[in-house]
Symmetry: D2
Subunit: 96 residues, 4 copies
Amino acid sequence: VKKSDRSDVKARLNRIAGQVAGIQRMVDEDRYCVDVLTQIAAVRSALDALGVELLARHVESCVLGHGSGSEHKCAAPMTKEELLEEVRLTLGRFLK
Amino acid sequence: VKKSDRSDVKARLNRIAGQVAGIQRMVDEDRYCVDVLTQIAAVRSALDALGVELLARHVESCVLGHGSGSEHKCAAPMTKEELLEEVRLTLGRFLK
Amino acid sequence: VKKSDRSDVKARLNRIAGQVAGIQRMVDEDRYCVDVLTQIAAVRSALDALGVELLARHVESCVLGHGSGSEHKCAAPMTKEELLEEVRLTLGRFLK
Amino acid sequence: VKKSDRSDVKARLNRIAGQVAGIQRMVDEDRYCVDVLTQIAAVRSALDALGVELLARHVESCVLGHGSGSEHKCAAPMTKEELLEEVRLTLGRFLK
């Protein structure tokens, strides 16, 4: 995660943490299960959107920026082939 | 959510909240994006598993138990057709 | 699948088969990968929507209609508990 | 899709078309809905795996290979930023 983008990622994660806390309250208050499910689906969508964003940034800063010296927290000693294989594996964890 | 099952749902949600907090720490510590993505995929799977569980319980206690008088926090004045339509909509929020 | 609903399911499957054939043509014609990916995502959504529909109908005709004598091609000697466990497993195959 | 990889993509698509034809037969034969659903989930997984593969190849040949002159059926006049935005949109179609 590049420094400049990190505050956006943090803001999204704070929102997601807040949504999860909201679901915990709903269960404590014994709310209708379908309403709980709707909230779970919303958190899932927010996580997916964050995943898409992080993966696109990873491709940008680590895979494309590979070897440019400017990359930030990229797995330095990897070849492009290894980086691509890692993208494939990571994608597969979301789409399985 | 039936009372007897609520402690299990709460335990799962606590675990999910803990996982989200862990991801927030990873971003604070500027960890490698692929590791963050792997954790996001794990939370997503945990949410999906919880969603499956809640939906199956909802079908059991509200749709099947409909009219038995024993249902707990079910949307009382719905017909079976309306309950099924709601199941369809809820499923659609996960699979879209 | 109830007889009355089968023609709708068949129509949807025909459309999905047509979409897959379209993707095969796109690959034969060496079309731009992103366009192929967009079509793959469309087939996936169509399959998900069909899955939601079939699962809701299954709950309606086999789980709810259980023991009514009117059920059609339901796994006859199952108890409601077994049917619900099967719904859970089936959902888990879509959300994993 | 690069020419050298195209036969693999075609083989996968043939298998997927065969699976869809199999589901059509199951519906014609009025098979148990849960078995149909299991097959639908299998096709969905096969499509996802193909999507992951195509997206990784796209990143490799079009995004990384951008400007190298060797790219094959890539959207030539796009900048890297546009290519990345397109990756983001495409990913979002699978994870929404």
